[in-house]
């Protein structure tokens, strides 16, 4: 139990995928101009991260390892992620039109989010079991959502603030992201992983 909690805190805060490990920076800068879309993107990414890390664990443990095909990890994980993303898009579209309206356009974008592949590969490196993999993916998703929503909220305020002309737009966004990353480095040492 303590170990699972450690994984969760470790991925959400200490080894945050975006601000500490610098994975998934594209949606972090791209979809953070509006709080509404940031929330949609966060929910979709958390969902896919959890599902993809579980599925990649299954493929790794039951297909690649028995055949000694560990060198095929990257390509098969990309296959798994693409499948999971398309499948969940179809499933959500059919079962929940309301949720699809919120998440719809963000789901295909997640295929190319490197945090998803990163989580799948890190699960193997850290030799997590089935539940640990799922939790690790979920924690990564929660951490991604946390910083994306915080960052979007800040950017919404920054756009109306009196920023010096050379810093307007993406430049001040980069600086803010850097400061947030510094702040998150402060969690280092909270959990020893």
């Amino acid at each position: 139990m303590t170990e699972l909690f450690t994984i969760l805190i470790g991925t959400v805060l200490v080894n945050n995928f975006v601000l500490v490990q610098f994975l998934g920076l594209c949606p972090f800068m791209g979809v953070s101009t509006k709080l509404e879309s940031a929330i949609g993107m966060s929910a979709a990414t958390t969902f896919v991260l959890t599902l993809a890390s579980v599925c990649s664990y299954l493929v790794n443990a039951y297909v690649l390892e028995p055949f000694n095909l560990e060198f095929l990890r990257t390509i098969s994980f990309i296959l798994v992620i693409a499948t999971v993303v398309s499948f969940s898009k179809m499933y959500i579209e059919k079962t929940s039109p309301v949720l699809y309206r919120v998440l719809g356009i963000y789901i295909p974008l997640i295929t190319t989010n490197c945090a998803v592949l990163g989580v799948a590969l890190l699960n193997v490196t850290k030799s997590h079991n089935f539940f640990q993999s799922g939790l690790y993916g979920f924690g990564a998703g929660v951490g991604f959502s946390l910083v994306l929503i915080l960052f979007a909220a800040m950017r919404e305020r920054i756009t109306v603030a009196d920023t010096p002309a050379p810093f307007r737009g993406a430049a001040i966004g980069m600086i803010t992201a850097g400061l947030m990353s510094l702040a998150f480095m402060g969690f280092g040492g909270l959990v020893a992983l």
């Binding site: 297909v63 095929l72 296959l79 798994v80 059919k94």
Partner: protein, 230 residues
């Protein structure tokens, strides 16, 4: 099966067999995975097939299909999509008028609103476009403007309107360079004349105020109430 022509040396031969073996397994495994995932996705796309948005379809059938664009959207279907997404209000359709707003409000469970004057006023009577043919110069501008293809004609030949197709949306009047298009009220032939339909029960109930028992009591509700109490 020599791979690199080094088959004569036994250590390489071993390695060669090993390599062929592992490559074969790798190819087979990846192909298997790809076929499996492809089958899953193929089955899912059949099982989870979505035929448009049911709500959009329902709203679209209630709209008058004039495709006039007075609501600010390029046609009735885009307006229906916008209503379903909550981006547009239900009171932006002048051709449909109050009856359309009423039925949309019933479908969506929202309050009935008066027509938004910004998008035009409800026509008193149904009109159709009429082209004064001797003045028409055959510029085809009204043909391009017509959303329902109700105008016939070709360049430098006079145009005319198919009355049964015209929805009376006014869109052809503005582009005409010689102003030869009139909007004429539709004359109802005697064979099609009928009494005005009484308002539907739902409309009557919707217009009722507190204290009214039925719609027809409204005119003398004070005396009627006294009678009922006694």
């Amino acid at each position: 099966m020599p791979l690199w022509g080094l088959a004569a040396w036994s250590p390489y031969k071993k390695m060669e067999i090993f390599l062929e073996h592992i490559v074969l397994i790798a190819v087979l495994t990846l192909t298997g995975l790809a076929i499996l995932f492809g089958a899953i996705l193929g089955a899912a796309s059949v099982k989870f097939k979505v035929e448009g948005d049911p709500l959009v379809e329902q709203i679209d059938t209630l709209l008058p299909q004039t495709q006039c664009g007075q609501c600010g959207y390029p046609g009735c279907k885009p307006y229906a999509t916008a209503i379903a997404d909550g981006k547009a209000d239900i009171n932006r359709c002048p051709p449909g008028g109050h009856a359309t707003i009423q039925s949309l409000a019933d479908l969506l469970g929202v309050e009935v609103k008066p027509l938004d004057a910004e998008h035009g006023v409800e026509a008193e009577v149904k009109t159709v476009a009429y082209i004064r043919e001797d003045e028409c110069i055959g510029c085809t501008k009204c043909i391009q403007a017509c959303p329902v293809d109700a105008i016939l004609g070709a360049a430098k030949l006079m145009h005319t309107v198919v009355v049964s197709e015209c929805t009376g949306c006014d869109l052809c009047v503005e582009p005409c360079p010689v102003d030869c298009i009139d909007m004429l009220p539709v004359e109802q032939p005697l064979s099609e004349w009928s009494w005005n339909l009484p308002p539907s029960t739902r409309e009557v109930l919707g217009n009722m105020k507190a204290g009214d028992l039925i719609g027809s009591d409204r005119s003398d509700s004070s005396s009627g109430k006294g009678d009922r109490a006694a």
